[in-house]
Symmetry: C2
Subunit: 219 residues, 2 copies
């Protein structure tokens, strides 16, 4: 994958703009679990995922977390460059969920090109609208759905991301994604097991009845 | 107020772009309670508030509401033009909370000017980032704060919006803003009254101890 693959509109940029972005971008790796962005003071730049997986989440004063969205190959992370736009007045954290290769584009270079290029500015608008849509989906889940629906939706989503029905994940991690306590997750998973929707072993959750989980997630 | 007052960058647009937006914009009025935008199918255009107050909220299948943000004079509402950007994949509703005068700019005209103008595209980016920040603030409140903090924050915010300590608002309305049931609001307001932070009469809430409410809202 090339840097240009992160930008669907790359060919509509001028050669000079392409050169500015390419020359400024730095390819780096992040280890699994590495924190790449930790709130508003932090402003490394735009992240373009070459390979791996990032997770964006919010964190309460008490250490509770909620996953907002994931970023995969070719995805661009704007909010790690929050200083680029004054109007971004919120804090999210971004960590590498898997070993990840990514480009970092310094915020000042990106802002400069975006200032000249309606194409890049409109593309950035689209990126932000996409993330906004994902966040709104989560909000609706959190606010309007009961916890059993949310947990079923989370298991299905994980299963799709990982391409397997056997998830290697602790109850603690699931609790962090969904912004609840480990005990709540354990209790609900046991109920799912009783209903034969999943089978639990230490450190894994096996999805055994996808149709039932899908029905539940849509309630 | 002029249409141009809604756009801080108006003077940086070309005369032709200014003319395109001005000629397409239609000034209209909305009655208190009028629904101006009802989810994704609806795409009237950008709304620029000349006078009055709009409320953006989400709505569950069961009719529960949560207020996301308010728009006042000079504010621009993007999401009523959601068809303008493919990546806007969520539904919000927008209603006039007070009698409101507003301009409506058709989505195709706005999109066309934004496609040519890096200035307008960057300004639109800023608008979206501002709304995103407001929504994230709500999300953190909903997810991480207990209901007493959220209610205290809401009463203070209303008091600031209205410029008075005596709020004319029903418990039902407060419940709709905060996404909960009326009974929950009534119970908590009675507790606030007991603690002498508010004084309740039919249809009004009088804030009697702002410092205590502020302390509570910050917990």
């Amino acid at each position: 994958m090339q840097l240009s693959d992160g930008f669907l509109i790359w060919n509509k940029l001028t050669q000079d703009q392409q050169r500015q972005l390419s020359q400024a971008a730095v390819l780096r790796t992040a280890q699994q679990g590495e924190l790449l962005h930790a709130g508003q003071g932090d402003c490394q730049g735009l992240l373009v995922v070459a390979d791996g997986q990032l997770r964006a989440y919010i964190l309460s004063d008490q250490g509770r977390q909620i996953t907002l969205y994931r970023l995969f190959e070719r995805d661009v992370c704007l909010f790690s460059a929050s200083c680029m736009m004054q109007s971004i007045q919120f804090s999210i954290a971004i960590e590498a969920e898997k070993p990840t290769k990514l480009w970092v584009i310094p915020p000042d270079v990106y802002r400069q090109v975006m200032g000249q290029s309606a194409v890049l500015a409109n593309y950035t608008n689209d990126l932000m609208a996409s993330r906004f849509s994902e966040v709104m989906w989560r909000v609706e889940q959190i606010v309007f759905k009961s916890f059993d629906c949310r947990l079923a939706a989370f298991l299905l989503e994980e299963s799709e991301n990982e391409g397997t029905d056997k998830l290697t994940i602790t109850h603690e991690k699931i609790a962090n994604h969904l912004g609840t306590a480990r005990e709540v997750v354990t209790r609900m998973l046991r109920y799912f097991q009783q209903e034969q929707m999943v089978q639990l072993t230490r450190g894994t959750v096996l999805l055994t009845d996808r149709p039932a989980l899908i029905r539940l997630s849509r309630q």
